[in-house]
Subunit: 118 residues, 2 copies
């Protein structure tokens, strides 16, 4: 069946969450948001493109930092209200300089850091 | 530092997205939502507990289906507005009977199915 963003379910702001996972290692890197146009750009260009809620503009991952995400596979879930993009990540995905944004864990009631900036 | 859900950033509905990843294989299984109390229950019981937006009640994953998620690690991201729970999943995570909810991919403009119900 031919794909269109119209098949997806967006929230009231016209956005859908997108989980980025490193294709090779399976590491979950980050979660950000896309709108219908950023989905089209992602699929058309092969460069993962989010919608920045704070700046209200396209966020072509890595355009400023060089830490680009090359699209490997574009998936969506059973309810069509969440995306999973498999990527090849150049450098750190996180603005803190860490590989993944999910660098904090809760263990025995304490918050610990699992990684340091690259 | 001692952890509290107060450290997290919830949306206007008091919810935060939670990505469930199979601890062993790294497979991303699903995304659902938690509120502060479901986070406490998840950490206290070791059974992943979401907040059902449709039913407006706790959703102890697997309580009805038997397809429980045992918590292996509880993580959160740099902006503290997204959770990643590493789990041991019993049976399928998806209500369609598939292992993962992300069973559809877009390739060459077409939607394809990557897996069938277990």
């Amino acid at each position: 069946m031919s794909f269109s963003p119209d098949l997806l379910v967006f929230n009231d702001a016209g956005l859908i969450p997108a989980i980025a996972q490193e294709a090779e290692s399976g590491e979950v890197l980050m979660m950000a948001w896309m709108n219908a146009d950023s989905i089209r750009k992602t699929l058309d260009t092969g460069r993962v493109t989010y919608w920045s809620r704070s700046r209200q503009e396209f966020w072509v991952k890595g355009d400023t930092s060089g830490h680009v995400q090359e699209l490997v596979d574009f998936r969506f879930d059973c309810d069509a209200d969440c995306l999973l993009v498999l990527v090849r990540q150049t450098g750190p995905a996180c603005h803190t300089g860490r590989r993944s944004c999910f660098y904090r864990a809760v263990r025995d009631g304490e918050t610990i850091e699992l990684s340091t900036p690259l």
